[in-house]
Structures are given as C-alpha cells and as structure tokens.
C-alpha cells in the first residue's frame, strides 16, 4: 500500500489539513501532525495522512542531474 499522491495544503485546522490534489480533487481531514508543513507546501498523502513534505528542489535536481549526465555520456561517444 505504497500509493501516495502529492497535493498542496490549502488550509490547516489543528491536526488536520485540506489538501488540493489538482483537477478538482480536494480532500479534507488529512492528518497533518506527523510532518512539519505549512499552508502552500506540497505533501505526499497516504491512507489519509501526510507522510512527507515533497522536496521540490530535490525533484528538480534529480531530473536535471540525470538529464545532464545522460546527455554528456552520449555526447562523449
């Protein structure tokens, strides 16, 4: 049950948050207390709770690094 979706926190009320998963799918009642997140952050939600704050910088970095690396090794043939 690894299914986790990224969504943006649009509201926090106590221990629960309202998360926007895009395309009109907004879920209330997401447990937010097991991560350090604020409104506007992207979180990965699994089984009704946020398991991690999504690191956008890392997301960008990984793809950039791999694109660069693969481009360079195919150029150096």
């Amino acid at each position: 049950m690894c299914l986790g979706y990224p969504g943006r926190i649009i509201e926090i009320k106590g221990d629960f948050a309202k998360v926007d998963f895009g395309s009109g799918v907004i879920k209330d009642n997401i447990i937010i207390s097991l991560v350090d997140a604020k409104v506007g952050d992207y979180v990965i939600v699994h089984a009704g709770y946020a398991i991690q704050v999504l690191d956008e910088e890392e997301a960008k970095k990984t793809i950039e690094i791999w694109n660069e690396y693969l481009k360079s090794i195919s150029e150096n043939r």
Partner: protein
C-alpha cells in the same frame, strides 16, 4: 454460468459479451440479413434499411453538456452512421416513474426536439409508459432509428478498391480491417465519463468538463467524401479499449496504438490518475474511431479536422501483423497489452 444478472453485465465489456453470447445470440442469432444480429455491429441492415435500437439509463438525467435526451439522439444517430448509414428518422419510447416532474420531462423532450431538428432527423413515432413510484429510477428511454445507405458510401468504397482490389464489403463493418490500415480518433477521450463523475463525486475543474454527446453526421460526411474508410465505431461503454478489442476479434488482426498520440485533456488525465481510472476504458458519446486505408489516412484526417467536432482528431495507431493483441506503446516507449475491459469503470453513463 452465472445465476443472476449483475451490474457488470451491462457495462459494455467482456461480462456483457458473455450475456450476449449465452442468451441473446443463443436464441436470436438465427436471423439472416445484410448485416445480421450475429455480426454484433453498431446497427443492423436489412434490404438496405439500417435499423438501430438503443436504450438510455444514464444517471444523473441532467449533466454538464447535455441530458438523457441529447445523449439518446446522438447515440442512436451515431450508431447508424457507424455502419455507413444516413440517419432518416427516430422513434422514442419513454418509461417514466410516477412522480417525475413535468418540468424536467419538458426540458428533456425539448432538448430532443432541438437537437433532432438541428440535424434534420425527426422523431416520427414513439410510446409513453408510466410505472409506479419505485419501479424504476425517474426515467429511462429507448431511442430507435432508421437510416438508408449513405450517399457517399459507394464513392468511399470505390476509393478503397483503388488500393485494395479484393475489398468487397458493402457496409462499414468491424470485420473490414487489414494490416496497414490507420486508426483515426476524432477527438478528446474521457470527457463524457468525467463530466458525469464530476456531478456524482462533486469534482471541480479549472474549466468545466462537459459531456461530448453530439451527432457526428458532419464528421462522417467529411470522411466519406474523401474516401478510404473501411470501418467506423463510436467508443461508448468500455471506451477505445473495448472498441479496438472488438475490431481485433472480428477482423482477426493486431492493433498498435501510441499513448502520446491519444488526445486527452490535461484535467481529464489528472482526474483519471487520481481516481484510479484508465481513460482508455471510459465511455465517450461524441467521438468516432475510423479505420482508414494507409494511403488516404492523412487526407481523411485533414478533412475531419476542418469540422468543429473533429478538430482534435489524431492518427493514433495502425493495424499490424506484428502482434496478436491490441498493444500500446507507452509514453516512455515501453509496450503493454490493452485488454478488453471487464466492464466500464463508471456505471450508467449511457
């Protein structure tokens, strides 16, 4: 064999095909006709007359982009078009639950009238029944229709025979596909199912997703005018996954499609991903898939794209000898088999 009918038996996939095989064809398959029942094509043809019967149980009755009435007019007309017919007239059978508001009945009938008028296919006969409260869910209807041979069909087949001398089919049939034929999809998939779901599940999108229900007379006219079309079908229940598998079975060919070529709105794609739905299996009510001989495919595509209902058309794949299945090349270049769906993932869309 099953003891009781389940919802899945009406959802256009393999379960429904079992019901048809074991009960419908078993008893009714004896009839001989130009395009008989046992061909299980979009319509039947007898003595040059095309006949189609379709019932509509969509829920809710009113949805973004239409209602059960506009859906019915579109669906029945399209099924007549898909065998190469020109729709002539419709017959409307209404079954109404006691207590149904006249206001809503009036809105539905008016929609039927307006749409039928706009395409010049009148309702010339019908029937009305009322049943006790609780005996059915508000309203269901049957829309049957007749047609004659499309005036451009012979020209269309003449063009086919210029490149395929042995082609001798009289109608656009599911069995007509041959390796090399191209597959054209007339526009965005998934709109109708997601429009219904958006009402049922309360989803909101950046711009409202509307049902695509529409009669495709103009699109078929444009395609047949160019010529080279060997088969046509509308991807309703079970979506293009079901449609392509029916073509595969009846023509005995493999089909390869390309995920990146399939037209789908971003919002619909994301909604499908989140909801765990496969857009290939979702029903559409205003789209056609055409099998066209390779040599004419680009021209047919251009002609369809000139029509407002075909402006997002794409060549999504081809008929092939390479595989025995319907296969899709995924966006990352991998291959996967597209099986016939067991049913439509969204119930009661038509």
């Amino acid at each position: 064999m099953e003891e009781f009918v389940k919802m899945v038996h009406g959802q256009g996939g393999t379960a429904m095909q079992q019901l048809i095989k074991n009960y419908i064809l078993k008893y009714l398959g004896w009839g001989e006709a130009e395009l008989p029942l046992k061909a299980l094509d979009d319509s039947g043809v007898m003595n040059g007359i095309i006949l189609k019967s379709d019932s509509y149980t969509v829920k809710p009755l009113f949805f973004p982009g239409g209602n059960i009435g506009t859906l019915a007019v579109s669906g029945t007309i399209n099924d007549i078009l898909m065998v190469g017919g020109k729709p002539l007239a419709l017959a409307l059978g209404l079954i109404i639950e006691e207590g149904f508001p006249f206001k809503e009945l009036s809105a539905i009938i008016e929609s039927i009238a307006n749409l039928a008028k706009s395409v010049d296919v009148p309702v010339i006969t019908g029937d009305t029944k009322v049943v006790e409260r609780g005996a059915l869910d508000k309203l269901v209807l049957n829309m049957s229709g007749i047609g004659i041979r499309h005036p451009l069909l012979d020209h269309n087949f003449k063009v086919v025979r210029e490149y395929r001398k042995e082609f001798n089919a009289k109608w656009l049939m599911d069995a007509n596909l041959r390796p090399g034929d191209k597959i054209i999809l007339s526009g965005y998939i998934g709109d109708h199912a997601i429009a219904l779901l958006s009402v049922r599940e309360g989803l909101k999108f950046k711009s409202e997703i509307k049902s695509d229900a529409a009669p495709l007379i103009g699109v078929m006219d444009a395609a047949l005018k160019i010529g080279g079309v060997v088969a046509a079908k509308d991807p309703t229940r079970g979506g293009i996954a079901n449609l392509l598998n029916e073509w595969r079975d009846k023509s005995n060919v493999g089909i390869k499609i390309y995920e990146e070529k399939i037209p789908i709105r971003d919002d619909v794609r994301s909604a499908c991903e989140y909801l765990g739905l496969d857009p290939l299996e979702l029903g559409n009510e205003g789209k056609a898939v055409l099998a066209v001989i390779d040599e004419m495919a680009e021209d047919v595509l251009k002609a369809i794209r000139k029509h407002p209902l075909g402006k997002n058309a794409e060549i999504i794949g081809e008929v092939t000898k390479e595989f025995d299945y319907v296969v899709m090349e995924t966006i990352i270049g991998g291959l996967r088999i597209i099986p016939p769906p067991i049913g439509d993932p969204v119930p009661r869309i038509c």
